[in-house]
């Protein structure tokens, strides 16, 4: 145990751990808000069990003077809130960690290799009015440690608890105060010193999580209809849009099951809405037949799928990237689709918007593939681009000669909607004639198949290229997709290997033609993926003809940490790939 002051410079990793219902989330939200206002860069993510009370959940908050957007294993400060927290966090505890906790509640071991500092969170809470106030003591304590002026915290407290009774607010204020007092003592005792530059002009950043970013992107895409069946970790998008349904006049419907949800969405698009569903792998598996219906009937569709570990129910509140194949090959028969996998919150908004646009323009099914880690991660952003102009609606007024599936060179037929014009809009699940009626004419069949498949070429032309971090001509290319992007990026930054560049994909299908050039330059390709079989590596091999020489895979239900990626890549690199 090390008793000299621990000095933390410019990048603090702070962890709160306790049971569901213990109020970690309030501490987190309070802190994150106030620290963002102070001008720090803030990043937070959490991991939690599939239960409503108890268990062990944790939140990791990074407070930094430069943007950090990835989870680290390292804990500079840990606040355990109950007696299971230390065991739960054991794999991440190190000699560097300073643990602040209520000795009686937390029961730290005597022989720990890390420093434990007794702060009477629980005892003091009971004095104030009950155990529930422990979390505001912790909030005050941490705000104090970070040097936030007490008055600022107090004023946030009032807006934070607006609506609560005066008595509750008074007690929370007392708890906050008490936290500040404890912080002052700790600072006095020179146990820890936190030195992180503030950026005055950053106060005013946008603070959102992945679910909000997708939902805001949907609004930017003109979403006016969402049907869904709740399923972790995808429900946040539904909840957010439900919350906006009055202001934005969105039709929000919780369906009886996923099959109903997607069929409602298709009905809505058919009638001219811009609709989406949000689900996870198991829910999406149920939607596949209707995806195929969207394919044959050329009904646009936007599907947000937040991945979690499978098979089946798997780990309901954990993360994984193992539903890429599911989405790539979903639905009987053959038809094109487009799949985005945002790596950053900015991308999540922009790509969800783009999903609406492509679905509408090409009458295809567009996926936004995220995961639990991404949904539950938030950080500060300077701005969020929602497009300069509203997206056009790609429908046209019909006349009597209208034929829904007119064969055109590029494969897209003008889309009419019922009631808009004199034409009739006939959409069909069977193979059909140009006017949408069921046919068994076997000459028409291949023409219609080809028409539908031609749209894949259009999607290919519009495909977004991967992003390169580092030297484009580097010998070794590390590839990743979706939510792992900022994690691998920070890891590579930490590794200082000029011979390695990162090629990260936020569009995973169809792949941009530029991929070939970008990866063609590398002598070796290493993939980082959150699954057990390297699904994206296989796609790269299949679509681009490149072999992936090394794979860093993770499938224990947690996202990668920066340290894990550094360690894993170093190992692979040292093995000469």
């Amino acid at each position: 145990m090390n008793n000299t002051a621990r000095i933390i410079k410019n990048d603090l990793s702070l962890v709160l751990c306790g049971g569901a219902g213990q109020g970690i989330q309030s501490v987190e939200q309070f802190l994150v808000k106030i620290l963002a206002r102070e001008g720090f860069y803030i990043y937070a993510t959490k991991e939690y069990m599939s239960r409503v009370r108890g268990g062990s959940n944790s939140t990791t908050i990074r407070i930094s003077s430069h943007p950090k957007r990835a989870p680290v294993a390292r804990m500079d400060i840990l606040i355990p809130l109950d007696d299971k927290a230390l065991e739960h966090m054991a794999p991440r505890l190190s000699a560097e960690t300073v643990v602040f906790g209520d000795e009686e509640a937390v029961k730290p071991p005597r022989d720990a290799s890390w420093r434990f500092v007794d702060i009477p969170f629980s005892k003091a809470a009971i004095e104030i009015g009950g155990p529930v106030f422990a979390n505001m003591i912790a909030a005050g304590f941490l705000a104090g440690l970070m040097g936030v002026a007490k008055a600022i915290s107090q004023s946030l407290l009032e807006t934070f608890f607006a609506g609560a009774g005066a008595d509750i607010i008074a007690k929370d204020a007392a708890a906050l105060e008490r936290g500040y007092d404890e912080a002052a003592k700790v600072l006095e005792r020179n146990i820890i010193a936190v030195e992180i530059d503030r950026h005055e002009n950053r106060s005013g950043d946008i603070l959102i999580n992945g679910a909000e970013a997708v939902a805001l992107g949907a609004l930017a895409g003109g979403c006016d209809f969402i049907a869904a069946y709740p399923m972790s970790p995808s429900t946040g998008v539904l909840t957010f849009l439900a919350g906006q349904s009055l202001d934005f006049e969105i039709v929000v419907e919780q369906a009886e099951d996923e099959i109903a949800a997607i069929n409602m969405m298709l009905g809505a698009w058919y009638a001219g809405a811009r609709a989406m569903v949000t689900t996870s792998g198991g829910g999406f598996a149920l939607m596949e037949e209707a995806l195929s219906l969207a394919g044959v009937s050329e009904t646009p569709a936007v599907i947000h799928l937040a991945q979690r570990p499978g098979p089946a129910t798997g780990l309901a509140t954990r993360t994984e990237q193992a539903d890429l194949n599911l989405v790539l090959y979903a639905g009987q028969g053959e038809f094109p689709r487009v799949i985005f996998a945002p790596g950053t919150l900015e991308e999540a908004a922009a790509l969800t918007r783009r999903a609406f646009d492509l679905a509408d323009r090409f009458q295809v099914q567009a996926f936004v593939l995220t995961d639990q880690y991404f949904m539950d991660t938030y950080y500060t952003l300077r701005s969020l681009d929602v497009g300069a102009d509203p997206l056009a609606r790609h429908i046209e007024e019909t006349d009597e000669s209208y034929r829904r599936y007119r064969i055109t060179e590029e494969g897209v037929s003008p889309r009419g909607v019922p009631g808009f014009g004199d034409g009739l809009v006939v959409a069909d699940s069977h193979e059909h004639t140009e006017d949408g009626h069921i046919t068994e004419n076997l000459q028409v069949r291949p023409e219609m198949v080809n028409k539908r498949l031609r749209k894949l070429d259009l999607l290919r032309q519009e495909a977004l290229p991967p992003l390169v971090t580092g030297d484009e001509g580097a010998e070794i290319a590390v590839i990743c997709w979706g939510s792992t992007y900022p994690i691998v990026q920070e890891a590579l930054a930490g590794m200082a290997r000029p011979d390695v560049c990162l090629v990260s994909f936020s569009q995973v299908y169809p792949l941009s033609g530029e991929t070939k050039d970008l990866l063609g330059r590398a002598r070796k390709i290493i993939a980082v993926e959150g699954n057990a079989t390297g699904q994206f590596s296989r796609l790269i091999a299949l679509e681009m003809g490149f072999n992936v020489h090394g794979k860093l895979l993770k499938y224990d239900g947690l996202s990668f940490t920066v340290e894990e990626v550094i360690e894993g890549l170093s190992r692979i690199l040292s093995e000469g790939v």
């Binding site: 209809f225 099951d257 298709l266 609606r393």
Partner: protein, 287 residues
């Protein structure tokens, strides 16, 4: 020649099929209501009955087996001005689609659900359907059906449907009239129609339906759920007509905030980016 008539269309039903008179009844009900084909959307699933929309002039969404109701609901919720009619077979609506039937009733969108109930799977060649009578022998149910026939009328009433009726394809006038009333009803309306399948159901023939059905007495109070239920549970002879109607309940679309201030269909609304920018600004952490 009405405006809903598709002239010269080849119809792939068997000669004598009970679907023909239902098609006619639907067309004449629509004519009678002075609707235009462009304002009507027919939604169907898959099966013999589900081909019906292809034999009319109207907007059509012919979707998946069992899934016409959610599609119809989505259409209605995106454009409440359309007249939306879901029409399909008993297997489609009560078998594969049973869950949507239950929940569409709860949701109460202003759509009409027409079920061509031939008590058999026609298109797939004669397996039992949920409404097949006990004892019906089929290539799968080789010793005869043992599962209790699905009683759509009773279940609809129990589930709180706001309009529940039954007809018989052989009774053209009643069929037209009930479809007309169902379309006129605000809210979810079920019209279950006994439909002889001359190819696969040799038990429930035109004659059988004539012999085993009767018109609900004028004295029946269609506003009384228990009276409706008593009729629905009759097994000796099967009542035809309006079992139950409850007026005044809001339709699904009426409960949607999206149409509270603005009655336009969703496709006809401009996008407002400034509203979105304001929302994003609310997510800023500035003091």
């Amino acid at each position: 020649m009405g405006q809903f008539d598709a002239i010269g269309k080849e119809i792939s039903w068997c000669p004598g099929c009970g679907n023909f008179p239902i098609l006619n009844a639907l067309k004449s009900a629509l004519e009678g209501r002075e609707l235009k084909p462009r304002d009507v959307v027919l939604v169907s699933g898959i099966g013999q009955a589900a081909k019906l929309p292809h034999y009319m002039i109207a907007n059509v969404f012919n979707g998946l087996h069992g899934r016409s109701l959610p599609v119809a609901t989505g259409i209605k919720a995106a454009n409440p001005g359309l007249t939306v009619i879901a029409v399909s077979g008993d297997g489609c609506m009560y078998g594969e689609g049973g869950n949507h039937f239950l929940h569409a009733i709860r949701r109460n969108p202003d759509i009409t659900m027409i079920v061509n109930n031939n008590m058999v799977y026609g298109l797939t060649k004669g397996q039992a359907s949920p409404t097949s009578p006990l004892g019906l022998k089929t290539p799968i149910q080789i010793e005869g059906v043992t599962e209790i026939p699905f009683n759509p009328v009773a279940i609809a009433i129990a589930a709180g449907a706001s309009f529940v009726a039954r007809s018989f394809a052989g009774d053209a006038d009643r069929t037209r009239k009930l479809i007309d009333m169902a379309i006129g009803h605000k809210g979810f309306a079920l019209v279950d129609i006994f439909q002889p399948c001359v190819s696969f159901n040799k038990v429930n023939t035109y004659q059988w339906f004539k012999d085993n059905t009767y018109a609900i007495e004028d004295s029946h109070d269609a506003g009384d759920p228990m009276a409706a239920m008593a009729l629905a549970l009759r097994e000796d002879r099967l009542p035809l007509g309006l079992f139950y109607r409850r007026e005044g309940r809001s339709s699904f679309e009426e409960t949607l905030p999206a149409f509270r201030r603005d009655k336009r269909p969703l496709y006809d609304r401009p996008m407002d980016l400034s509203r979105l920018r304001k929302l994003i600004d609310k997510k800023r952490t500035a003091r």
